[in-house]
Amino acid sequence: MSPEPSSSDRLLAVDRLVKRFGGFRALDGVSFALGAGEVLGLVGPNGSGKTTCINTISGLYPPDGGAVRFAGQTLGGLPPHRRARLGINRTFQSPRPFASLTVRQNVALAAAYGRRHGADAGPADIAALLAELELDGLAERRAEDLNSAQQKQLDLARALATRPRLLLVDELAAGLNPAELARMAERLAALAGGGMALLVVEHLLGFLDRLTDRVIVMNAGREIFEGTLSEATRDGEVVRVFLGGEHVG
Amino acid sequence: MAAWQKWWPGLAVFTVVVAGVLAGGARADEAPADIKIGHLHAGSGPYASISMPVYDSLKLWVEQQNANGGAFVKAYGKKIPLKLISYDDQSNPGTAATLTNQLITQDKVDLLVCDSGSVLTAVSVPIAREHKMFLFDPTGTGAAFFSKDNPYIALLADPVSTVWPRYLWEFLKSDAARLGAKRVALLYSTNDFTGTQANSIRAALKEPGSPVEIVFDQGVPTSTSNYSVLIDNIAATNPDMVLELGYVGNDIAFLRNLQESGQKFKGVFTLYPGIETNVLLKNVGASGLAGVFSYVTALGLTLKPEIGMTVEELRAAFEKAYGEGGVEFGWNAIAGHVTGLVIGETLAHADSLSQPDLRRAVFGLSGKLKTLVGTFELRDDGAQIGELTPIGQFDAAGKIAVVYPPEFATAKPVIGAP
């Protein structure tokens, strides 16, 4: 849709991406691009295709049309674990830990399998990561015994353990209290500051506002707006879609 | 952490306890208080219907002996009570194997009797041989069990499967062919027992100069429970005589389907009506058996036994003991009785209870023991060849009469019977 003149030299370039489920077009030609250190917000009502977009970029769904390019390479049908090793990782809307393994094992596995070759992680690396995400006290607990907020931290820790260059964040903020929200926003901003590209799907616009000014608004599998968050709130179509949808935010 | 250290003693103790309990009763005295007969039966599963009658009948025989103060044991010159130890292998060969070993090594039985049917017998054969125990094999007819280098087995109550069909093919090639049954259809279940018989029948009918032609020859899985289409296909080849060889359930299904199909053949032979006549009569009815040919066993022959009961006495005793319950009186019940008789005679003739002496005694009976099934006769590899399997034909009342061979015949075969 909207032209992206310099998309080829960006870290992630999504080009007219299409994903169908039976007759339903969950993604209907979405295009955008994202550079290293950039944060892009993805907003829209439920069912507008945000999570499908993340699932397609991370390789869970094969696309039915269009292309995803990462660091100059067209990903095609590359399976998710290979994408993880290339440097694409994500969190999940509802956390998905390895329930029967300990917190440390969760993170250590991702560090062992998810990094590019030769970038092995020592126990110290993992301990540091756990400490950074306030999981160090829980390291020997089984993941299934954690509460939901802790499991979200674990999701993030596991994604970060693979040293991603692109992080896809799917509604990480939901269910966190204000203090946790603030710390999480700070942490993501710091990651972007360190050169990581972030694609953030979020309902909480306040949370998003602390991270970035650049958003894409989606509806029915299409991108209906791209620009700053403040512009978006003044855009007629965006407002109509949100009022008509079931957005709470 | 160190949880396993807490576990280990528990497991170890359990293992020892189990081993101890399983090992219980290991002792051998000079003058035994009883003679221990070890036996296996299948209380459930696919082999239960052939195994339970053998077990019940053997149990009945033991009880009768004990009611008279036990069996006479020559080695001690007096009557000694018998003790039957019979485990349930649930038709599971692996369990049958361990239980056989249990009987030998832990219960230290004096005589070893295996379960019925070849699949369950098979596992006991090498175990008995390894422990140099003589195996009393009631009905496991598999040809592979009997070889000259294994002295530790004798088949008691069934003829070895290659012997069964001899009169059948002779009948087909002589009387039946003369009466106009020249085209034969052969349908058999693909298992050891019936497959072996089908193979020898086929070979005999294909010998040069045979007046009989095989026009249909197919095996079906033993699990087959419906024969309608097969009957239709057989009819399409226009045979005079149809041979169906299967287990009890196969024969029931075949005969019922034949009756329902409205197809008529000049002659029909199936295996079990003469063997488990009660079961077949109940399931197929006299009308379904009218005119059907089958093997005639002791059930149909009125042999005068020199030892043990006649068929009718045994039937009465069996039904008195077990009622009109789930276990039907039939050939397998007779097999259990014969097993008992052979054991009794063995004890009465063996110089000691050592296994070689038992074997000598069993083989010494060969050709001399006339029971309700005929003469007990062993080939030197232990296979049973003495019993007769003449061919009989059912009348409209559900009674079978011998029609072949001529020396036993009490009726003339009718080809093209209603």
Binding site: - | G43, S44, G45, P46, A48, S49, S51, M52, S91, T190, Q218, G219, V220, P221, S223, T224, S225, N226, S228, V229, L230, D232, N233, A236, V248, G249, N250, I252, A253, F254, R256, N257, Q259, E260, S261, G262, V279, K282, N283, G285, G325, G326, V327, E328
Partner: protein, 291 residues
């Protein structure tokens, strides 16, 4: 021969639809694999046997008696076992093992109470003489079995699609969690479906002595294998797909018996594996069941 195998297969296959129907309903609603299905069928067969031989009831009267009886037994049985099973993490897998245990208990009790001999009911009870149709001669038992099966399928269809309870049952089938969230009493609906499943197995059992020649306490396992093939080919969890499964099974079996009789028992297994690999959801399935 070909026409006979095809026509006979369709008629015979209807009975296999009946065998699979209850098993599939239970799986569809509860995600439970009832490995004791064949043994419930066996109990139905023995019930019919005793009702005939002791009381003289014809199978046509025994059928509703058995169905009502099994339905009424099914309800408490459900509450005794299934809610507790559903608590487990891996309930679908555990159900296989649980119902294997139940199957062992049923078979053991049946062997103790009924004995292990073959039993049947005389074929003349259903009437005498085969049916003639399209120039083919068809067994009377087959045609009656097919009619009963058709009646059961229609009744189940009417229940599922034209009653409130059926609507709720379909809702539970579509998604247990959402049904729960929308306030449906899942256990009441499931218990009913479970009991119907047993009643259908009992119904199939009443006619088993005619369709399978004779019955024994050990017959359950082989019935299960056939039932699995039928419902998986049709699509697991879709009761109406069972019709397709049954017909394919029947026609396939009779074709095999006609042309490759010694390999006939291989067919259901190959059919099952083949269909699952080509269409993991069964021929009429919608749900994604891939790992």
């Amino acid at each position: 021969m070909l026409v006979h195998a095809l026509l006979g297969g369709v008629i015979y296959g209807c009975y296999f639809t009946l065998i699979g129907l209850g098993l599939n309903l239970v799986f569809g609603v509860m995600r439970i694999v009832n490995l004791a299905h064949g043994d419930v069928l066996m109990l139905g067969a023995f019930a019919a046997f005793f009702l005939f031989h002791l009381v003289g009831l014809s199978p046509f009267i025994a059928a509703p008696v058995v169905m009502v009886g099994f339905f009424l037994l099914g309800l408490p049985f459900y509450y005794l076992v299934v809610p507790r099973l559903a608590l487990a993490k891996d309930a679908e897998m555990l159900s296989l093992i649980l119902f294997f245990g139940i199957q062992q208990i049923i078979e053991a009790l049946a062997a103790i109470v009924f004995g292990s001999s073959e039993r049947s009911i005389p074929g003349r009870v259903l009437g005498v003489g085969p049916f003639h149709f399209l120039g083919q001669t068809l067994s009377r038992a087959w045609v009656i079995g097919a009619a009963i099966a058709a009646g059961a399928v229609i009744a189940l269809y009417l229940y599922l699609y034209h009653t409130r309870s059926g609507l709720l049952t379909r809702a539970v089938m579509a998604s247990r969690d959402e049904a729960l969230a929308s306030g449906i009493d899942i256990h009441r609906i499931s218990a009913r479906a479970f009991a119907i499943g047993l009643a259908l197995a009992g119904l199939a059992g009443v006619f088993a002595p005619f369709m399978l020649g004779s019955v024994t306490p050990a017959m359950g396992v082989s019935v299960n294998l056939a039932a699995f093939a039928v419902i998986i080919v049709g699509s697991l969890g879709n009761p109406l797909g069972t019709v397709a499964g049954g017909l394919i099974y029947g026609v396939g079996l009779l074709l095999m018996q006609t042309y490759f009789s010694a390999w006939a028992d291989l067919l259901p297994n190959l059919l099952l594996i083949g269909v699952l690999l080509a269409r993991p959801t069964g021929l009429l399935g919608r749900r994604v069941r891939l790992a």
